[in-house]
Amino acid sequence: MSNSSVPLLSAHSITKSFGPRTARHQVLFDVSADVHAGECLAVIGGSGSGKSTLTRIMLGLESADSGSVEYESQSIVGGRKSPGFAALRRESGLVFQDPFSSLDPRWRVAKSVAEPLSLQRRDLNNTDIDERVAAALTMAGLEPADFLNRYPIDLSGGQAQRVVIARAIINEPKVILADEPMSAIDVAARIQILDTFAAIRAARPSTAIIMVSHDLGVVQHIADRILVLHDGRLEETGSTAEVLGNPQSDYTRQLIEAASL
């Protein structure tokens, strides 16, 4: 199912530097990546290797210094003016590492989850929105009646992260970016998140997921394909089984060794 020939989202030869002119340091060196509809791509690599930066560029959250990004074959480079950008905005969802800093502490769950709709779908009335919020929460594994009116502070880490996921999927995105969605919550809760992603993939098989993680156990569990970054360079890429079972580069091998029991 992940083998449609045209990728949903693709990046070519991305380079990126940060910092002021005097102290510039390059974070990405000519990296290319793509993800197909229905596919789960895992981006792994050591801390600071540029995982977040690459994926953020792909989702148009950051601009690249050079290279191109295409969503459904339309360029998104150049922000709002570019043809693919608006579609990408509408059809993508975001899940970040720390669920608590992803939820406005002074907004109720219902309001947070509904936010993408209230921003993008002016055509929906309140009842529609309420229904969709409830549906999204249910899909994320939370009983709506129980959670709609809570504030983030009354949620556990796993619950909060599932609220964030509900927000990410409410507008039926074609692509979800999950940047280390499990590293800030405890082991027991991680399982729930994994289950949630599995449920989403089951319910909406064409959804593409880009998952950034340094937790190989998680990656192994969910990803179809893996992309390994090392110090801003593409180390290797391939199917999960290939990369984990038969790593090509030394660096990947080390990563795998350190992670196994």
């Binding site: 975001l94 970040f96 800093s101 406005d104 502490p105 309140n126 409830a134 009116n149 927000r167």
Partner: protein, 300 residues
């Protein structure tokens, strides 16, 4: 099955009651609420009625000692000091309200600039605040008083300017935290405009800081009023205010020193109440710190 509750008027009323109740539950909150309510009450009442008319001057009984008729004695015109003290409450209330509004408007503008996505605007506004904040309020008041003369406007503009800077400086970390948070990033990714983010995400999250800082400003404005009025660049003559009463009591110090005690005591108590009010309000209006507020409409 959906149970999304939108804030209804009933909810808002409930929230208001809860906030008040949460404040009232604490001893210091009780104190602040009582003092401020009394202030409000006296301000309104004294607008229409004072024990003696402010203009009932009696040249034959100036600087009289306290008596049954004049509880705090009379001033240099023979008018009732107590009545002037009561009447001062509404001028101070107006000054405080205007100053709070002015400093909030100016402060929020600065905060908006400081957390702007435009890096040049953000960093230059930060540096400007850092620099301007070292100019004393009284200097600004003195400069303003030159063209404006003694007037309430001098107090309000000078204090509003200074306290706005202060507000911006103090609220900036919270504003920055909110504006750089993942929820704002997510909102932006969903196409929210900078202004929308500012209003719907940043503002609610600096509300607690705002509550504290604005009530501190209110207290400082009351203090500034007394100082500036004494210096002759605050409330103009003939307008009752606590600064006026305090300045009048200075004249009485050699004749009836104890009269000095009252206006200062009132100012101190009110300023203490304002400071406490801010602290208590912060805890009460914030759903994060006030669980009761989170329960509204929650049937779990």
């Amino acid at each position: 099955m959906s149970n999304v509750r939108r804030a209804t008027t009933g909810d808002r009323r409930a929230a208001f009651v809860i906030v008040l109740h949460s404040m009232w539950r604490r001893a210091e909150g009780k104190f602040a609420l009582i003092v401020l309510a009394l202030w409000l009450l006296i301000a309104i009442v004294s607008l229409f009625w004072t024990p003696q008319s402010l203009w009932a001057t009696d040249g034959y009984h100036v600087w009289a000692k306290p008596s049954a008729e004049h509880w705090l004695g009379t001033d240099g015109t023979g008018a009732d000091v107590f009545s002037w003290l009561l009447a001062g409450s509404h001028t101070n209330l107006v000054i405080v309200l205007l100053t709070v509004v002015a400093s909030m408007a100016w402060g929020l503008l600065l905060i908006a600039a400081m957390v702007a996505r435009n890096a040049a605007l953000a960093s230059s506004s930060v540096v400007v605040v850092d620099a301007l904040i070292s100019v004393p309020t009284v200097l600004i008041a003195l400069i303003l008083a030159v063209p404006l003369g003694a007037s309430i406007a001098v107090i309000v503009i000078a204090c509003g300017f200074g306290y706005g800077l202060n507000l911006a400086r103090v609220a900036r970390p919270a504003a920055l935290l909110a504006s750089r948070s993942s929820y704002v990033e997510s909102a932006l990714a969903n196409g929210a405009s900078g202004w929308r983010v500012l209003i719907s995400h940043v503002m609610p999250n600096i509300l607690p800081v705002l509550a504290v800082q604005l009530s501190l400003s209110a207290g400082t404005a009351v203090l500034a009023e007394s100082g500036l009025t004494y210096l002759g660049i605050g409330v103009p003559s003939g307008v009752p205010s606590w600064g006026h009463s305090l300045a009048t009591s200075v004249k009485l110090i050699n004749v009836f020193p104890l009269t000095v005690v009252w206006p200062g005591l009132i100012v101190t108590v009110v300023v203490v109440a304002l400071n406490i009010f801010g602290d208590v309000l912060r805890d009460a209006i914030d759903p994060v710190t006030n669980p009761a507020l989170r329960e509204i409409g929650g049937e779990r």
